[in-house]
């Protein structure tokens, strides 16, 4: 419609010029020019095209995460999971509306994130969002969602400030923050009898944040960090850092970062003949880590927010359904959260209808909502407070719940 206006404006402008001098002659001239007519027809066609593009819509939910670039594995897993949630609900006969997932790529870059967040938030047909895997991107976009009033649930970014750094009622998060994760991690490790750490973290918000909260958590415990090494996530070679750590001789190497970097560090530890316990964060809870490291993965520890998916009835269904759909990429650690967030949003829409404000308010009232990552309860900042932290250990090339592992039973030993 607006373009019809554009064509009108163009016509108006041309008329205006004509008025400047002899009107009739000009009109004749114009009519005589076939060329001009053609252009006009062309313009009108364009205008029609644009105005015809309005059509009845299904209810749209956006998914935003990194689909290209270095951490796209996590993003693609999340996208598939959200997609799965939508299609499962669409298949169900109880569902009132038809849903459509609009996946957008934030490339894990804040500027692109703001761009696509604006795109989603400004689109009236999108009523809610399942957004962001990278914390820096989420930090940049929360204001955008607030400004446009788009209710979103963060499905992967773990920086506490995303929910706690603002009072925006639109922002929610199903996954826990790195605070809870590291508290549990520190307590657990101390309980296992470890007391000295060396920390390697990548210098992104993810790794650096994890280090910060792990350090905080350790202050309350009788543990000591002997050395900290911030590294570039693109870095290939870590032998210099590891040699330095070798000289410090800690009991545990704490790694704050994502699987690709973690794989390199664990593999290179072996090169230097280091056999310290490798303790990771949620970022390495992925089959990619085990695939990448191979046999060296045995005994690696990691922690993840949320209840163990595989133990919950809905979770089992998720894992099966995901496999049944035959996605090209695995769900990765946060796929379950993306699924849970999408499912929660659809539940809310089913209840209150496709209206952003109603969805926002209803989301804020969420109390003990059952999901595949455990019950979800949002606090006043929209943060899921039921911060179950699951402890994992790699046993025989798969992530095993600590409680179920042979390590917990004393059959194997970490040291």
């Amino acid at each position: 419609m607006v373009v019809t206006r554009a064509a009108g404006a163009a016509f108006f402008m041309s008329v205006k010029i004509i008025e400047l001098t002899n009107f009739e002659k000009r009109i004749l001239l114009m009519l005589n020019t076939l060329k001009l007519l053609k252009v006009f027809i062309f313009l009108i066609c364009c205008a029609c095209l644009v105005s015809c593009s309005e059509q009845p819509e299904t209810i749209k939910i956006t998914f935003i995460g990194p689909l290209t670039g270095g951490v796209s594995a996590g993003g693609l897993g999340g996208r598939n999971s959200a997609d799965l949630a939508v299609s499962l609900r669409n298949q169900s006969p109880e569902t009132k509306y038809k849903y459509e997932l609009v996946p957008l790529d934030d490339e894990c870059k804040p500027n692109i994130g703001v761009q696509v967040a604006t795109k989603a938030a400004a689109d009236k047909n999108i009523v809610a969002g399942v957004t962001h895997y990278c914390s820096a991107v989420a930090m940049g976009t929360v204001d955008v969602y607030h400004k446009f009033g788009l209710p979103v649930i963060v499905w992967g970014a773990v920086l506490p400030d995303i929910t706690y750094g603002n009072d925006h009622p639109e922002i929610h998060r199903v996954n826990g923050t790195m605070i809870n994760q590291n508290m549990v991690a520190a307590e657990f490790m101390i309980a296992q009898g470890f007391s000295t750490w060396a920390v390697i973290h990548d210098t992104t918000d993810y790794g650096k944040g994890h280090f910060k909260y792990f350090e905080k958590a350790l202050i309350e415990q009788p543990g000591a960090i002997l050395g900290t090494f911030g590294v570039n996530p693109d870095q290939q070679d870590f032998t210099a850092e590891l040699t330095k750590i070798k000289a410090l001789n800690p009991e545990v190497i704490y790694f704050g970062g994502l699987a690709p970097t973690g794989v390199r560090i664990r593999a290179q530890m072996d090169k230097l003949g280091m056999s310290q316990v490798f303790q990771g964060t949620s970022g390495i809870v992925s089959d990619a880590f085990i695939d990448g490291v191979g046999d060296l993965a045995e005994g690696v520890l990691a922690f993840r927010e949320g209840a163990p998916t595989e133990k919950l009835p809905g979770g089992k269904m998720f894992i099966q359904a995901y496999q049944a759909r035959g996605f090209g990429e695995p769900a990765e650690a946060y796929g379950a959260f993306a699924f849970a967030a999408t499912d929660l949003i659809i539940d809310v829409i089913e209840k209150v209808g496709p209206d952003r404000n109603l969805i926002r308010d209803e989301l804020n009232l969420t109390q003990g909502h059952e999901s595949i990552v455990g019950p979800v309860t949002f606090d006043s900042h929209g943060q899921n407070t039921i911060a179950l932290i699951t402890k994992y250990v790699i046993q025989d090339s798969s992530w095993v719940l600590w409680e179920d592992s042979e390590y917990a039973l004393g059959k194997r030993s970490l040291k």
Binding site: T68, G69, G70, S72, A73, L76, T203, G227, T228, F229, G230, V231, N232, D234, Q235, Q236, D237, T239, A240, E241, T243, K244, K246, A247, A259, P260, V263, R264, A267, Q268, K271, L272, G273, S286, A288, D291, G292, V293, G294, G328, E329, P330
Partner: protein, 304 residues
Amino acid sequence: MDLGFFAQYLINGLVQGITYALVAVGFTLFFGVLDVIKFSHGDVLMLGAFTALALFLGLDRLSTPTWLSLTIMLCLGTLTMALLGALLCKFLVLPLKESPPLNTLLITLMFGSVIRESVRLFFPNGSNPKPFPALLPETSINWGNLNLRLDSVILIFTGALAIVLTHLFIQKTRMGLAIRAVAQDEETARLMGINFTKTVLMTFALGSGLAALSGISTGLYYQEINFSMGLMLGVIGFSAAVVGGLGSIYGAIVGGLLFAFLQTLGAIWFSVPAYKDVFAFTVIIMLMAWRPTGLLADRSAERV
């Protein structure tokens, strides 16, 4: 510092330095013959490693003995990349010969990102890091705090051998002579009856083969490869080639070792090792201010 740790740093740095040097030699060769920078070099390296991995996975099914798969991986991986390099040169680089040199840089860069994205999308589960088989003997000697592994030593020697062979090839063979002639003066070389296109293609094949070799040895060493491994290696290799002096093989070696040395030094010095790149690149900028045409480049005055 403890002597063992010192030796350990030295060995680590040497492995890295040789890898950088291998990449830098490629940059230097391309620049030598065509005055172009081929920025997809790092991604060719990555593709070489992935080709070798795919070969291995195939051979593994046939349960080929280790030494044989290793040889096949090395030969086929290197040859495939050499072919790719030559094709790239023929269809993307040579046609742009008359346009500004930056165009070549950009087109190869985009080609690199096409390679990268293709591997990410079309290699099974390509966006995740892939384990690379440990095919080299893993015997290691512990000597105080030094853990010297046989595979590191083998890789250092292989890398060095590859560079020496490249050098000999360029200095002693007819083809090498042609490459040198083209590098010195294209027109004169043509007048002397040298097949220009063939020589350039050969050089690109050679450089890309070296990249594949360093990709495979990176895989063998770190036992892990990923689709974005070529990005940083490409930039560092380019830096090494420039600091050493474009067009000089010795320069590439010196540049590669220097860069690894700076990074190691930075990692030791700074409490936050990520500063090591800040440090290395700052030193590079200062070196460039001091020696504007690189450390070892031919500094003969421009002909006026």
